[in-house]
Symmetry: C2
Subunit: 336 residues, 2 copies
């Protein structure tokens, strides 16, 4: 028996930017926010969101076919997933990442070919020195970026709270803490912990607001600093989530070495990331995330658990191990 090859797999991947953009535009229009207030028929929903008559029905029905909306008797409503994760007013909102994808990444990825030819980032003004300098200079964009990072970190934060032996430690620092999703999640899960969020000074008001809204200001504080220019705050456990991949190899090694210096003997470093599998043949998301670092940063790249364990041992950590967290994310733990 010979299998007849089919082009469906290829065409599905190649055209999947249609699926992506339909969802990204739905987030932009506030489809899920509108339907969280009240389910609505075509006419009502279209008027509420300001869509033209021509393609509104195709758009909403495409979202139904993508399992992002439900429709019964002509009335559209959110799925349990979209209601939980894509309604802006809910603390479980993860749409910030999709907003960032819609506002910036979709277009920059249009220049992937040029990026691969030149090795140069394509995001924003290509002459600009630094993605983060640009982001942090604009309070509105910074808030959007930090909220996006919360969406990226929420699932991993729960898994880290669950899978690390926190009972053996009393304090932690989250380096590049953003809005504070990881500190808040850890402090909520483990009442004996005190934590610090370390990030650039512009982040403080957004961080403090998020921590206060979660009622954790007594155990979580903010420390302003630059993780390249300043020493890292000391704590039993240091966490770096989606930080190392932004930087080139020398910068990665420098950050690992600074973490080592800030830990007491017996302390631990947790690095988490959409780690590429050691064989580099399974985790497509991790490999594509590395291409996203090409698009977005001057020298960043993603890496395998084996890569990171090697760098940690070179930095002096006596023992290292890798544990899966959730979805594409895993953590690498180094013990000093």
């Amino acid at each position: 028996m010979t299998m007849k090859p089919s082009p469906e797999h290829l065409l599905r991947i190649g055209m999947s930017f249609w699926n992506a953009k339909a969802l990204l535009s739905a987030v932009e229009f506030g489809v899920f926010d509108a339907l969280a207030e009240t389910p609505a028929d075509l006419r009502t929903l279209r008027a509420k969101l300001g869509l033209h008559e021509r393609s509104a029905r195709d758009f909403f029905d495409a979202l139904v076919a993508l399992k992002l909306l439900e429709r019964e008797g002509g009335v559209y409503r959110n799925t349990p997933e979209t209601d939980f994760f894509l309604v802006r007013s809910k603390p479980s909102y993860v749409g910030g990442l999709l907003e960032m994808a819609n506002a910036r990444l979709y277009e920059s990825w249009g220049r992937l070919t040029e990026a691969l030819k030149t090795g140069r980032r394509q995001s924003e003004n290509k002459e600009e020195g630094d993605l983060f300098a640009a982001l942090y200079a604009d309070p509105e964009r910074l808030r959007g970026f930090l909220s996006a990072m919360s969406g990226v970190s929420a699932g991993a934060a729960n898994a880290i709270a669950d899978k690390f032996p926190w009972k053996d430690y009393n304090s932690f620092v989250d380096v590049g803490a953003a809005q504070g999703m990881v500190p808040v999640t850890l402090a909520r899960a483990h009442p004996h912990l005190v934590g610090v969020g370390f990030d650039l000074p512009q982040v403080q008001p957004i961080f403090d607001e998020f921590v206060a809204a979660n009622g954790l200001a007594a155990r979580i504080s903010f420390r302003a600093g630059d993780f390249f220019a300043d020493p890292l705050p000391q704590a039993d456990v240091i966490i770096m989530g989606h930080i190392l991949h932004d930087w080139d190899l020398d910068q990665k090694r420098l950050l690992l070495s600074k973490a080592y210096d800030a830990l007491p003997p017996g302390g631990a470093l947790i690095v988490y990331e959409a780690l590429i599998d050691d064989e580099r043949r399974e985790n497509a998301f991790g490999l594509l995330m590395s291409l996203n670092m090409l698009i977005e940063t001057a020298g960043g790249f993603d890496y395998t658990g084996a890569d990171c364990q090697g760098w940690m041992r070179a930095a002096g950590f006596r023992e290292t191990r890798v544990a899966h967290l959730v979805g594409p994310d895993s953590m690498v733990i180094g013990f000093k």
Copy 2:
């Protein structure tokens, strides 16, 4: 037991433009052509294609993780699928569609939100009257477009050859024949058939070349014409594939009525398309194709089998039925 909702489905859809663009850039670089000549290691492949060192390995390994390449002992090679469908020199090449997606659609879809707000096409120069006028005015782009259409039609053409009772008919006309994939496939499968490809005069050299290369010039000929301005050529069976969806409702009805006029009593019209399911809740590709018509055309939209059967009956056809072809494509048959 309560199921904890997970954002993975949402994030996978929302970020799938990464997967898409990786494949589109791979086609643009000629990755599959290079590896069809000879499998190669990272260094060789990178040099051959002119990729910068920074991200070449991540790029090729991402293609491995997406099951678009294989890698063994550091040597990359095509999968059976990519070798069959994405090597330009092979007659089974379907990459024309992906080339079109890469060169035009990816960017235009970046303006989906605006298209949905305004109901106006976003492709090319928005002030331009007509997508096809622009395409057909440039021989190089026309050749690319027609080759893309062959990729879209190849699977459906085989299924039409298989699933329609051709033994009861002697002649056919393919309206909007493009390169001639459907006529060639039908004539090859059914040696008693003679066929005509009907399209604008600019298409003739490309059509004739393809028919001659397939050794079918004795039974397939080209007829130049404009399917709005001119009557359709007469034949036992008239075929319109991926044609009706380009046009608005009045134009669709006009084309169906012209097909009716050109058929003898007992003749049949075959319309095939990525038909939307009648409930408009399953075939995401068909619904997104309709949004693609928003992006690409002045008034086009995709439709269900029930829609098309209704229009056919209104045009005079005495009997209609729908049959699935392959992948997202189905055909609607109307008998006069």
